[in-house]
Symmetry: C2
Subunit: 452 residues, 2 copies
Amino acid sequence: MENPILMELFSQLDTLLEERKFSQAAALAKDLMPADAALLLEELPEQKMPVLFRLCPKELAADAFAYMSPEAQEVLVQSFSDLELDEVMGQLFLDDTVDLIEEMPANVVKKILRHVDADTRRMINQVLNYPKDSAGSIMTMEYVDLKRSMTVEQAFQRIRRTGVEKETIYTCYVTDSRRKLLGIVTVKDLLLAQNDQILRDIMETNVKFVHTHTDQEEAARQLSRYDFLALPVVDGEQRLVGIVTVDDAMDVIQEEATEDIEKMAAMAPSDRPYMRTGIWETWRHRVPWLLFLMISATFTSGIISAYEGALAASVVLTGFIPMLMDTGGNSGGQSSATIIRGLSLGEIQYRDVPRVLLKECAVALLNGGTLAVANFAKLMLFDRVGLLVSAVVCTTLLAVVLAANLVGSSLPVLAKRLGFDPAVMASPLITTIVDAIALTVYFNIAKLILGI
Amino acid sequence: MENPILMELFSQLDTLLEERKFSQAAALAKDLMPADAALLLEELPEQKMPVLFRLCPKELAADAFAYMSPEAQEVLVQSFSDLELDEVMGQLFLDDTVDLIEEMPANVVKKILRHVDADTRRMINQVLNYPKDSAGSIMTMEYVDLKRSMTVEQAFQRIRRTGVEKETIYTCYVTDSRRKLLGIVTVKDLLLAQNDQILRDIMETNVKFVHTHTDQEEAARQLSRYDFLALPVVDGEQRLVGIVTVDDAMDVIQEEATEDIEKMAAMAPSDRPYMRTGIWETWRHRVPWLLFLMISATFTSGIISAYEGALAASVVLTGFIPMLMDTGGNSGGQSSATIIRGLSLGEIQYRDVPRVLLKECAVALLNGGTLAVANFAKLMLFDRVGLLVSAVVCTTLLAVVLAANLVGSSLPVLAKRLGFDPAVMASPLITTIVDAIALTVYFNIAKLILGI
């Protein structure tokens, strides 16, 4: 809670509840935005949370519930009477109900499902059956459907009658009797049309849609690309089964960026915010990569041992190892981060790969050249190392940066081609590979130039 | 262009244009989505692009223009007759016009401004004056404003009359005669109300808004948090000056994630997609950090030189340097990436810092412990290194991971506190710092245990 107004409100509410001044607390809470109410509720101690929840207007309380963390939702559900649970479940949108059921322990799920009608239960089961991270798993089934023979006036009547419970009314879907998607009509289209026009004549029939099994990231990307408020989801027979709304698409984009960043830092992605992840869970997400990379790094030790003779002959060479390894890792990390993000945003396609590799080589020569010149000047002027050693270090620098950029830009593409997430081919793994290359190149150039 | 349907369409259009079968090309193009039309236009050779543009229906052409890259827009503007430019500029939304003007060279801007009326020119200047990356710079001034004394019917009349040219009509803004923002009414509210109800009675007066100088990322985050379709932007006197729409907020979220990833990989962020950035520009974005990190890394060389005696006494120690440095860097990188993302999403606040540091230490002990045990087993069983050397390596491992996580989690917080972007405190910089710590710890533990 960074917002000072909310923090002030929180301490007021906390005090009022402490002093049992409930009507004053209710007056303060009644105009809150649902997202803010959720935040305040979560911050309250466990025994006060249900009290404030009951003081909120029913609709606000139910809306706020949908925004709360699973932990807080569980506390509330456990404290609910049957009547209260009925009310909250009646207000929740289907996709929020599904999220809730996915997060709750089995006994709570049982309690919840007793308060859901058979029809909703069937729909919940359907959504739960779609693969994790698919469009089907994040869609809602609560959209407005219209028939193509309706007039604009009839369409408005239907929206008025059924729209209250729908997640969005602004894009309506025209379907046939078998629920096949025929077209879309926006409320803007309807408002700008005459009351007696037929939907068939004003609907947009060139409709973009995704399938239930489409990756949620792809669905979010399409929605963003076309600036839609909602994107229809169809099954194998082109029947409309749900819609993905722009607010959920936005959450997907945030989550996927977080997941990429976690993978790029050699961690297994986590579903939960950092402050709500336990120490053991964090350990489980981080240690496998650390172990794997540590073992891989011992190969570099093997390389150093193999060239112990060269090192013994020219001890000064050891001092440059960290700098060469770090620079290679940094340069390769730049390339891989750029390519991974480009692939993830769809800015780089397979057919661009030759151009990408050429460009990375060109940039590597410029970068490596700049670094080599700077380092040579420093070595000769400040460190007063011999000309030959300086030559060894700077030639290696150029070669290492070139190799690093090639490895850094080609491995993410290769990973994608093989069906892996390119994000794992980021700095940590690239660094380990580039380290081995850097040392081999270094010692061989040293042997060549210094004749050791 | 990954989409096979679009690729097929592209080659058909290209051939039809080649063979000068214009009416067939026009028939193919007329039902395209604007975003798709933009993509196809951009892919065409420069001489064919204006041809297809003219074959598209006027509205589609103007919409597609807004989606195109600055390079393609420039080609088109240069080829436009006065009449064509008039038409396109008349169709463009204000925020797209501003984007266009920001990207075009001076002579093209002059040409464009001749085709814009005085009123629009004044608004363009206003938006251009807001700081880069502020809410003011991404807002549009084309919203529907209503008066609180209007009836629902009057509101619908106004929406019908003025709505065609507005970016969104679904959230309308109720202002007083001095443009002060009094409340909001959604089209859903209007549809569910009676025709003779007065807006004063149905409008939502608890309105969330941002200021023109609010950071665009903060505006996008608020919009996403409250699941809004648009967020009002007010000036210093609480007067409504514009709105930020959800599609622009989504772009901001994408861009900011890309910027974070670039900074975390030690690059200056780039405004342009990778495939449209030149080699020299890429070099300029990457080389400063590489240089800085390379110079910093030479301090590690200094440390190695300082302990040359210890190394000479036990040459086997050299071989573990890369593994220890890499592991420290990887572990610190995990911590910093987690904290940076948490800060950027607002999941971690300043008051959480003590808990964060404690948690990172606990995870470091678990991670370091696991790695030390694994490494000890490997050293004793496979590498058959002496017990003392193994003890040195594994104790160092534990200490390095602990130091790395502390550095990795505290530096991003410190950077934010000092007003810098936490994202620069990511793996590359952390690695350099941790390297120096790792070597110092290593040699001192070696001296202590081995007595060299």
